[in-house]
Amino acid sequence: MQGKYKATFWLSVVLVALLLLVPALGSKYLVDLTTEIMIYALFALSLNVLIGYSGNISFGHAAYFAIGGYACAIFLTTYEWPLIISMPAAIVLAGLAAAFVGYFCIRLTDIYFSMLTLAFGMLVWAVAFKWRGVTGGDDGFVGVAVPEFIGDRYAFFYFTLTVVALSTGLLWLICHSAFGRTLVAVRENRMRASFVGVDTRRLRLTAFVVAGTFAGIAGSLFAMYNRGVYVESAFWTESGQVLIMTLLGGLYSFFGPALGAAVLYTLQVGINQYTEYWPVVLGTILLIIIMFLPNGLVGLAQKISAQFSRRT
């Protein structure tokens, strides 16, 4: 067990080192793409705390991404707060919103839980859409006052890498703590977990807040990266997209969703250059995952390596 964790640690170090080298390749496009992927990877990882670990499927996860984004943008620009206050405040706000919504949602399970997250998600979208004076409505909140020291493309890349790496590390620790194990127990059998004295509602609420908070981190990065936040970020299709990223990578592995985010986002950007029918491709991908890859790409890799080791 310890050996397995050690391997994960060193692989992560190698990955971060490789990412540090990306700007050296000299492609601005690649730097931008990698920045976007890292943000989406964190977004997908945050959702997986809820889906993979606690077994609660949320259709409204974009709400916390958007709240983090809008809040960070508004604090930085409208209130002219420094980044060191704006970003943490935005993250806390996303977490508080998740606590509020979670308080109601965790009373329900399965599809009812999912539908309520969708309803709250769309409520956040409606507020962003209608509250023109604060959010800019359907014009979006443009011209985010990004601090100068991360104003440059490369500086922002390193900033994102640092924030995402630290957040991922923190998420990893949370998921591999007693809390994470208890979440898995609740996912596998809510009743049985309560027999051993687990307050399953409180635990699911905590998972909801953790997921929302980290989505808020991703959202605030996204707002600064784009120098704007748009109401689409809160729309249910955004929740759907991050759900598909998580599914594509693999629910039952910690890093799966990050891989799913990388693959799906790269495909989306690539395919959008040739055709406007990206949703058709997205639908096909979803179909393939559900029919053939229930455990996503990570599950596929495990299956292949198991086959391989059996043969040799």
Binding site: T182, E188, F195, V196, D199
Partner: protein
């Protein structure tokens, strides 16, 4: 004062009534058995005590405190461990992790008091060697041991064991019986629902025979042994 007092509970699932006034008590260190054929209300009695199927009437008192309508996790935290019949462990967690998540300090004790993994492994040595294996790959006997071991990690004062011997090979049943006996001599109170009469006669202090949701007979193992009529009336198929 009895540890647990169940007073005239009536429990129904929707419209179908299952328990028609069950009363029983458990003293500290006592093993009380519930026997009877399938569907007489043994499991429902346990579920009512645990809060999974709260009774419509009657009361459950635990250490002189009303627990009739408390949520399940709360009852568990008060020191009642439940090992249900289907003994499903958490298949994706390892044996050690299965134990780890159930850790609760004993009532009135501090963190670190009570059962440790080492002590649990001493009682169930088979589990020690497979502690890093996932629960889902264990045999039925190992899963049963793990479920009981896991309940112990919560330091219960009372253990509800629902048909622990069901579906296990005779040799495993014997091992299990001896382990449960060890727990009994350690002072743990147990309510045991069982169909295996030998198992019950060996372990219990008092036996309640249930039929149609009510207690029809109460006696010691010696009474029951001496009374083949009762045995054939309520227990043989």
């Amino acid at each position: 004062m009895a540890l647990l007092e169940v007073d005239n509970i009536r429990t129904a699932y929707g419209l179908s009534k299952v328990l028609f006034g069950i009363s029983l008590t458990v003293e500290p260190g006592e093993v009380v058995a519930l026997v009877g054929r399938n569907g007489v209300g043994k499991t429902t009695t346990m579920r009512s005590i645990m809060g999974l199927a709260p009774p419509q009437q009657g009361s459950v008192r635990w250490m002189d405190r009303e627990i009739t309508r408390l949520p399940v996790y709360h009852v568990a935290k008060l020191g009642i461990g439940y090992v249900p019949e289907d003994r499903r462990i958490f298949p994706e967690l390892t044996v050690w992790e299965n134990l780890d998540i159930a850790r609760l300090p004993p009532i009135g004790g501090a963190k670190g008091d009570g059962w440790s993994e080492e002590q649990v492994f001493e009682l169930f040595p088979d589990l020690k060697d497979i502690q890093s294996r996932k629960g889902g790959v264990l045999s039925g006997g190992q899963q049963q041991m793990l479920t009981i071991a896991r309940s112990l990690m919560g330091n219960p004062k009372l253990l509800l064991l629902d048909e622990p011997s069901e579906g296990l090979a005779p040799i495993i049943v014997e091992t299990l019986r001896d382990r449960i006996h060890l727990l009994k001599t350690g002072g743990l109170s147990i309510i045991l629902a069982e169909q295996n009469l030998e198992f019950v006669l060996y372990l219990s202090d008092r036996i309640h025979i249930l039929e149609k949701g009510a207690i029809q007979y109460t006696g010691t193992p010696a009474d029951l042994r001496a009374n083949p009529d009762i045995q054939s009336k309520y227990l043989t198929l």
